[in-house]
């Protein structure tokens, strides 16, 4: 009776964005949210939860790694490394 697989994202109290923390099984969306609360936020980790069915996620394939990501490897001019960054919070 495990049901479909869901991916779980949690936002911490002072966190800015939801972070993927793991996955779980549930009978439906509402139970997935409750299971996520029970499994992933029992030690005050979060104040907000997203769950999404794993089969609703379109993921890049490891086979595409080179054409997708390698071209970004030598574009040094895309990095703000040539000047001082001030003391900006959350950077």
């Amino acid at each position: 009776m495990t049901g479909p697989l869901y991916e779980v994202f949690v936002r911490a109290k002072r966190g800015l964005n939801h972070v993927h923390v793991g996955s779980l099984h549930a009978a439906d969306d509402a139970m997935a949210l409750r299971n996520a609360r029970d499994v992933y936020t029992r030690r005050n980790e979060g104040v907000s939860i997203w769950v999404v069915r794993a089969d609703a996620i379109t993921a890049s394939s490891p086979d595409e790694k080179e054409p997708l990501f390698d071209p970004a490897g030598d574009k040094v001019y895309r990095h703000p490394t040539f000047y001082e960054v001030g003391d900006v919070p959350h950077l």
């Binding site: 009776m1 911490a12 966190g15 972070v19 409750r34 299971n35 005050n44």
Partner: protein
Amino acid sequence: MSPTSNVDHGPYDGLDATDPAHWAFGTGFADPLDGIDPHVPDGVDRVALAALCLRLGDEALLLSHRLSEWCSRAPDLETDVALANVALDLLGQARLLLARAAVVEPGVVPELPAGSPVPAEDALAFFRDPPAWTGSRTAALANGDFGHTVVRLFLASTVRLVVLQRLTGHPDPVLAAVAAKGVKELTYHRDWSGRWVVTLARGTRESRRRTTAALGQLAPAWAELLDRDPAVRDDVEAVLDQLLDASDLERPDEGGELPDDLPDLLAEMQSVARAHPQGRW
């Protein structure tokens, strides 16, 4: 931020900003009422208040113990953790309530040999014989299948939620605070168990058969819980009707009697503490 902070050490990295207090529950077992003013307001009947705390504490502890028996045996990991969470919520309520009963009326605590290291809440939990317990038979009832467990939890949570809601205005500020804390917990317990009842009732033919059977077996439990707290009857009947409606289930006859499983429960729950009366935990 330093460049190394981009290194991914695990799924919880991004949650590091959480308040450090989130680990800070300590590792000891201090008095749950430590730091709380023990004063009982004038005009509050101490004997009645202690009896009320004991009754609510016993109920929570017994049901907590039954739920904890599911540990490692639930249908799946998610459900296992959920049941353990509910059990721990109830255990927390039990500790506060038993400790409060002992403060308000020390006479309720069983006498232990001089020099015993056992705190009052433990003396109440582990050194009281069955006749002194004031929980329901429903709470002590041995576990059946998962359907039986979620139906029992729904019935017990539905009644306890309304009872605690009414106690948030109690003249004893400690009991009122425990009730307010419990209301949030019970709201979740009722929601979680109710969803499972609906899911099982509307699931497969087998899950529906088991849910219907559990509801029939637990009909006397519903009657018992309402007999113990007749004042909440109207409120909780409405909730049960809503669940039955959502589950497309009939209300069972309230006949029958519940077995008294309290002695067996206590025999197991109390055995370690009684075998080591000088133990420190």
